[in-house]
């Protein structure tokens, strides 16, 4: 079992701070986009892209690569920051986010961005696509794995539960799902808009192996992924308890920061908090 040394942890902390700066910078330059869900999901991406996934930016179409689907596509600034940092495309592109002709669309586009495996943006569809990828790996007797991240509000979509039944019916143990459980959606707290609890019990009832962790704790996330890998015959969902807007104090737990870009003052304040 891979364990994070104190130095490795320090590196990840530094890395995530840099990536958070990239996210708020990108959104500020774009003038629109989704900071809250990008900042909440980032640490899961960091663990996947720096510690877990079998990927090679030099050979990003290698058929044996692991696959990743960002079902909550609006959080793509986080994924773009990570992909640029891992070398899938030059970092200069980040400043073109959401602009005409950019390879970085407002929502992930697999035909425009190296490293994006599935176009998303219409919520609720990513788990089905991930199931398809996991089934394909099985058909090809490949040991490649599939990862998917959903938003918690997103699981109000019926298709998520259709897909959840598919994953367990086909015993997709090569599939690991994450729930970015930040408890917020656009119109407010999920519990007020349309309650999701009991969340873990729902996924268990749908035949899943369920783990719950702090979604900003790298060691816990890594341990959970490794547990998921060891479970046979069941798909795993890691319910990652997160903070929407994580890392920028005035964005944390604020529904209002779901879908607006920071203006000059807020951007500078955010940057100051993310710099030490």
């Amino acid at each position: 079992m891979q364990v994070l040394s104190p130095t490795a942890l320090d590196e990840l902390n530094l890395k995530s701070k840099k990536l958070r700066r990239d996210i708020v910078t990108m959104l500020h330059q774009a003038g629109s986009g989704h900071p809250g869900g990008s900042l909440s999901v980032l640490d899961i991406l960091v663990v996947l892209y720096y510690k877990v996934m079998r990927i090679d930016p030099e050979n990003f179409q290698d058929p044996e690569r692991d696959r990743f689907v960002l079902s909550k596509g609006h959080a793509c600034p986080a994924l773009y920051a990570v992909l640029a940092d891992r070398g899938f495309f030059p970092s200069e592109h980040l400043s073109t986010l959401r602009k005409l002709g950019s390879c970085l669309q407002g929502h992930p586009d697999m035909r425009k961005t190296p490293g994006i495996e599935m176009s998303t943006g219409s919520l609720g569809q990513g788990l089905s696509a991930a199931n398809g990828m996991a089934l394909a790996a099985g058909l090809e007797n490949s040991d490649r794995r599939v990862y998917v991240i959903m938003g918690d509000g997103e699981t109000q979509e019926g298709q998520i539960w259709e897909a959840a039944m598919t994953s367990s019916h086909y015993r997709l143990d090569n599939l690991t799902a994450f729930l970015d459980a930040n408890e917020l959606q656009i119109d407010g707290w999920c519990k007020d808009v349309k309650g999701l609890e009991p969340l873990a019990e729902k996924w268990k009832a749908f035949g899943w192996h369920v783990l719950e962790v702090d979604g900003h704790d790298y060691a816990a996330l890594l341990e959970a992924v490794q547990k998921a890998h060891s479970v046979k015959g069941l798909p795993t969902i890691i319910i990652a308890h997160t903070v929407k807007g994580k890392g920028v104090s005035f964005m944390e737990n604020q529904a209002d920061w779901h879908g607006k870009a920071p203006g000059k003052d807020d951007f500078e304040k955010a940057l100051a908090e993310l710099t030490d």
Binding site: S122, G158, Q185, D187
Partner: protein, 315 residues
């Protein structure tokens, strides 16, 4: 002259409150976008008659059908992509087939959704809704017309789709012009050619007609705010007079107003026509202005289309 700019979705929110006061049977549904669709204005005023079903658009359409089947007048709103294609069978079977009194209101449609990109820019919604029996399709040209349309739809009994926009749009319809569902409006008379436009493209059509006027061409402008049922009689009358037609819409050239006009003219009075719209492509991220420019949804493009049909007519 300063042109008034109004947000059609803001007008929608305000008008919902107004009709909610008038008719207690009006209920409003949303799917976690109430601040964007502006249905939140109704929610604040009438929390008991507002249902936010969360990110569950299919469920929202079915729920609206149930409310309508029980005598209520539901307005169900979300972005255009999620209000149509996302929930197509729910609309087809629970709303159109049943003929239930559900109003589907799409707040963000077409390229002018802008930076969110192709996943959020519906260019096919008019086509999808138009092909359904019983479904009325309404696309107001400006803010004031949005108010008239919402009011008219509240008293009209039957399924309807109302297409609104994200950005503000200039007020282009004269204040004293009567509004009736199903009746197209002649905004400019002209004997040389006719621009038939809907929604955001009406202002571009008026501008194009003015431009052509400078060169001595008299172009009529017709606003089709109700795409279905379509005002065939009016179209045939102005088209036959002018002898050339250009259709303009912020939608695919397949299946929308352009197709509607082509169907009618083809059967009744074939004559030179061109469709200006998005030519069988998905959109992309960019500012609304940049996108309309890139995809050719401008007054300049309408002028050049106008010249092309004129030359065909005179051949």
């Amino acid at each position: 002259m300063e042109q008034e700019m109004l947000s059609t979705r803001e007008v929608y929110g305000k008008t919902l409150v107004k009709i909610g006061t008038r008719w207690e049977k009006v209920v409003v549904l949303d799917a976690d976008l109430s601040k964007s669709t502006q249905s939140v204005m109704f929610a604040r005023e009438y929390p008991q008659r507002f249902f936010n079903v969360g990110i569950s658009e299919a469920d929202m359409m079915g729920t609206a059908a149930g409310l309508a089947a029980s005598g209520f007048i539901p307005f169900a709103s979300t972005f255009g992509v999620f209000a149509t294609g996302r929930v197509y069978d729910q609309i087809r079977n629970s709303i159109a087939y049943t003929g239930l009194n559900v109003k589907i209101v799409a707040s963000h449609t077409g390229l002018s959704v802008g930076e969110d990109g192709a996943s959020h820019q519906t260019l096919e919604d008019i086509a999808l809704m138009r092909v359904l029996p019983n479904m009325m399709v309404v696309v107001p040209a400006d803010g004031r017309q949005t108010e008239q349309a919402v009011e008219a739809l509240a008293s009209y009994k039957g399924p309807a789709y109302l297409r609104l926009n994200r950005p503000k749009v200039p007020t282009v319809i004269p204040g004293d012009m009567p509004f009736e569902l199903g009746k197209a409006q002649i905004l400019e008379a002209g004997k040389d050619l006719v621009f038939v436009a809907t929604g955001t493209m009406v202002s571009a059509a008026l501008e194009a007609a003015r431009e052509m006027g400078k060169e001595g061409v008299k172009a009529a402008v017709v606003n089709v705010h109700t795409i279905k049922p379509f005002d065939e009689a009016l179209l045939i009358q102005v088209a036959e007079q002018a002898g050339a037609v250009v259709v303009a819409e912020e939608h695919s050239i397949i299946g929308g107003l352009g197709s509607t006009v082509a169907e009618v003219l083809g059967e009744s009075c074939p004559l030179p026509m061109l469709r200006v719209g998005v030519r069988d492509k998905f959109g992309e991220s960019g500012s609304p202005q940049d996108l309309l420019e890139k995809y050719g949804l401008t007054a300049a493009k309408l002028v050049s289309a106008g010249k092309t049909v004129l030359s065909k007519k005179n051949r």
